[in-house]
């Protein structure tokens, strides 16, 4: 079958258009679960964060966590949704990871409806709804190589049962695999911006299902769709959509039709495999949960949420790009916003730091969990040291790493470590020594074409760096090399 296991996101055959809608489950980062006061915490010993309510013990009753509702409404407003009076319903089906054998969710009256999410490229994806529901427990299949069908038995841990989720359902407005990934990336950025979830796909706190179908380009029909589950990374999402779309095109093209079903993404095999058929879909017997009462947020409540909503990622990226006056690439801006470092960078820039260099240093060298000791002033001083040539780039990186650890000033660190960029006569001597030790490379450098020269310049800079233990400025070495072959350059 074409497209299988290639991992490429090739365009569909001429004449076919991809139609994708996403369903994203996001765990809210509240302190407690949705309906009980157990800790909402990932990674604890199994069944230690459980109580009568989240175990579904007879006689227990749910009480809604105010913060979960607040978080959900915040997300709704960030997605431009209308926040509505809402009702909790029971979705009835049996599964061992579900303590009550029904899931409390919102059905026909969800908290958020009718929103939109604008991708960085300007494409707008409609949001049908974003509703509140509870998570299930976690099942481990034991024996049989961990595969569900061959397992000897299963173990259930209910620590995750009852953790608050928001399920975001997009409209089928996504047309490429790249858009699907951009949607998830942007949603994640929003979730982080408004502080309602840590949105980690690899830990399962953000889970994406994709509804995929294809149609002849230009038509507005909606053909049979398949729901792909088990997409645990952006890479999987893109590959799975591409594979599934090609599968549909192949089926339609050969006169067959896809079956409406759930399919699973097999990351190793690079393909989707059939799961439960939607034709024998469960009858969930939804009805209003009589143990809970409706939510009826007032206009004042919604207005207060709007007023307290922090700037969203798109605005933050724009601000950063604007502050950089052309020196800040969009990709770096997105990265800094994702890491919540845009505020630091903006403050450093307004303290006088060079925008381009500040962004480069932070984007490349501040990918750490805890950067709380890095102050705008410290960052600005560091960038000033580097920009003026008083420390080399390598030294600047070391200083930044030291600031993360100790919070000292760049000047103090530079002093303590004896940093100063090697320049002038000392540097020229070292370059001469390196050239003398590598005569073959030097000959090729002098006689080679541009590509060779570039490659060998890198080689010589590396050798000089090694000899000076990183105290040389790479740019200065390069200038010396050029001078030695061609005479002084113009800059």
């Amino acid at each position: 079958m074409s497209g299988a296991a290639t991992g490429r996101e090739t365009a569909l055959d001429d004449g076919w258009e991809l139609v994708v809608g996403l369903e994203v489950h996001v765990e809210l980062s509240t302190a407690t679960k949705l309906f009980c006061a157990c800790a909402n915490r990932f990674g604890d010993e199994p069944n230690t964060n459980v109580c009568p309510v989240c175990l579904g013990l007879p006689g227990s009753l749910p009480v809604v966590n105010a913060a979960a509702v607040d978080f959900a409404m915040r997300l709704g407003r960030a997605l431009g949704c209308e926040v509505r009076p809402a009702v909790f319903a029971r979705k009835n089906y049996f599964y061992p990871d579900m303590p009550k054998d029904y899931q409390i969710s919102q059905y026909d009256q969800p908290t958020n409806i009718d929103g939109r999410l604008k991708l960085p490229d300007g494409h707008v994806v409609g949001i049908e709804r974003a509703h509140i529901e509870e998570d299930t427990g976690k099942t481990t299949h034991v024996g049989g190589g961990g595969r569900i069908h061959d397992a000897d038995y299963a173990l259930v841990d209910y620590n995750r049962a009852g953790v608050p989720l928001v399920e975001i359902v997009s409209r089928p407005d996504i047309r490429t695999a790249e858009q699907a990934r951009a949607f998830v990336r942007e949603l994640r950025a929003i979730l982080l911006s408004i502080g309602v979830s840590d949105a980690r796909m690899e830990e399962g706190s953000m889970r994406v299902d994709a509804n995929v179908s294809v149609r002849p380009t230009g038509s507005d029909e909606l053909r049979t769709r398949c729901e792909i589950k088990n997409l645990s990374s952006l890479r999987s999402l893109g590959r799975a959509i591409t594979f599934e779309a090609r599968r549909h095109v192949d089926l339609w093209s050969s006169g067959e039709r896809p079956r409406q079903e759930t399919r699973h993404w097999d990351e190793a095999g690079g393909r989707t495999t059939p799961g439960r058929s939607k034709e024998d879909a469960e009858d969930y017997r939804y009805f209003q949960d009589p143990d809970l009462v409706p939510l009826a947020p007032s206009a004042e409540t919604v207005a207060a949420i709007d007023a307290a909503l922090p700037p969203l990622p798109a605005a933050r990226r724009a601000e950063l790009v604007a502050a950089g006056a052309g020196a800040v690439p969009a990709s770096d801006a997105a990265l800094l916003v994702e890491r919540d470092q845009d505020g630091l960078v903006l403050a450093a820039i307004s303290a006088g730091a060079d925008p381009g260099l500040t962004v480069t240093r932070v984007a490349n060298d501040l990918a750490v969990e805890d950067w709380s000791k890095v102050t705008p002033d410290g960052l600005a001083s560091l960038v000033a040291l580097e920009a003026s040539g008083r420390v080399t780039a390598t030294q600047a990186k070391q200083i930044l790493a030291d600031i993360v650890e100790s919070g000292e000033t760049p000047e103090a660190i530079s002093e303590r470590r004896g940093f100063q960029a090697m320049a002038g006569h000392d540097l020229a001597v070292t370059v001469d020594q390196v050239i003398a030790s590598n005569p073959d490379e030097w000959r090729r450098f002098c006689s080679g074409d541009d590509a060779d020269r570039k490659k060998l310049a890198g080689f010589f800079i590396g050798q000089v760096m090694r000899a000076t233990k990183g105290r040389a400025d790479g740019a200065a070495v390069n200038r010396l090399l050029q001078q030695l072959t061609h005479g002084p350059t113009s800059d």
Binding site: L57, V63, F94, K100, V156, D283, F287, L292
Partner: protein, 498 residues
Amino acid sequence: MTALGVAAAVASGERTARSVAEDCLDRIGEGDGEIGAFNLVLAEEALADADRVDAALDRGEPVGPLAGVPVALKDNLCTRGIPTTCSSRMLEGWRPPYSATVVERLRAAGAVIVGKTNLDEFAMGSSTENSAFGPTRNPRDTSRVPGGSSGGSAAAVAAGFAALALGSDTGGSIRQPAALCGVVGMKPTYGRVSRYGLIAFASSLDQIGPFGATVADAAACYQAIAGHDPLDSTSLDRPQEPVEGALADGVDGLRVGVLAELCGGGPRQETGRTGNDGPAAGGVEGVADDVLSRVQDAAEALEQAGADVRTVSVPSAVLGLSAYYLIAPAEASSNLARYDGVRYGLRVDAANAAEMNVATRTAGFGAEVKRRIMLGTYALSAGYYDAFYGKALRVRTLMLQEFAAVYEDVDVLLCPTAPTTAFELGAKTADPLLMYLNDVCTIPSNLTGHPAISVPFGRGDDGLPVGVQVMGPALSERLILKVAAALERAAPGDGNAP
């Protein structure tokens, strides 16, 4: 001795709580073999509780209003570390890791819990014959049922095994057995008493309430358990007026409506304004003449005491039974899904988890529970929801509207509690629908969430107790208790105290 009598004697030092508990346990030991009111007698725990009360009194510490009063709990109320079965094989041996809010409140009031009482399995029934552990018998006549589903609690109070008992009332499960056993039983306003720790049957209808030999006892028990509970989202956070002070007040000038549809007929000619201008509906069928006569007597007694009595109509009341038998099983089908063999209670093993669920549920539930799960699953399933469950919810709205209208004209309503006096064991077990008809007069208060009380008033032709029911609008506990107390004072002859 009444519960309040015990509390006064214990508080004054006239008796020790221990001697009260010992007497009570003796009576249970002598009599419960025949009655079968208890699933579990908590002898050691009761004596320990009693000793704690006595010790507190010795230290001069304050004790609660129910100090030393022996109380029996329906076995669908969770008691930490103490088996709680719902009279089902499904939960046999289960020891909850927590206690119901009402249990905590009773303990805080100084009560001594003497045991867990029998019920129809998961509170589904009207005779306590659906218990997996055998039926309870009516202490007034052991060939008869005690009513249900709280038959064990009603029988325990009627037999003098406990001064007070708690039951739960989803469609009449406190009031009907109270009537059949000749004791007082009250279903409070929905939300007045926390449901936390009450094993759910139908969540929008279930309400815990007291049994007592007298109205004053029931009132004191209600007072001890009522009040807002943050663990129950449906619990009302509303001020609680003390009820006991009202009991001696007369009913002079009070407007009492005899509810025509539940008293054997539609609206009568001599009615005052009826609650509805629509065409007169028929009344419910099957209410026995002797029961109707006692309700008539009760109405006259209230009139004698100065009340303004008239007949009123709530046409939708006759729809209650049908609506109830769609709504309650629907909720139950979902509430009882959790009994799947995974986390607690019975498991019947099988090759895979789904088969294990089926085997466990098939073995663990009795016939009536399965019947209601089936009915409720059907009523909620795709294609039938609108015709049945959805319509039943609209009937509920209609009833709320019509009751609201009639409560503009009258303060309380009067009607029978149960259509007949206690019937023979086995008389109705073959025909589920016949059994369901027992609840026809009690169901409306569950659907509306209004409070209602059953108080003994005379006897039927067979010499067995008849209960009359006083219903009131939401939060009118004080009012209906006052009317019930007036009826108790006016009740004929030999009295009904055990």
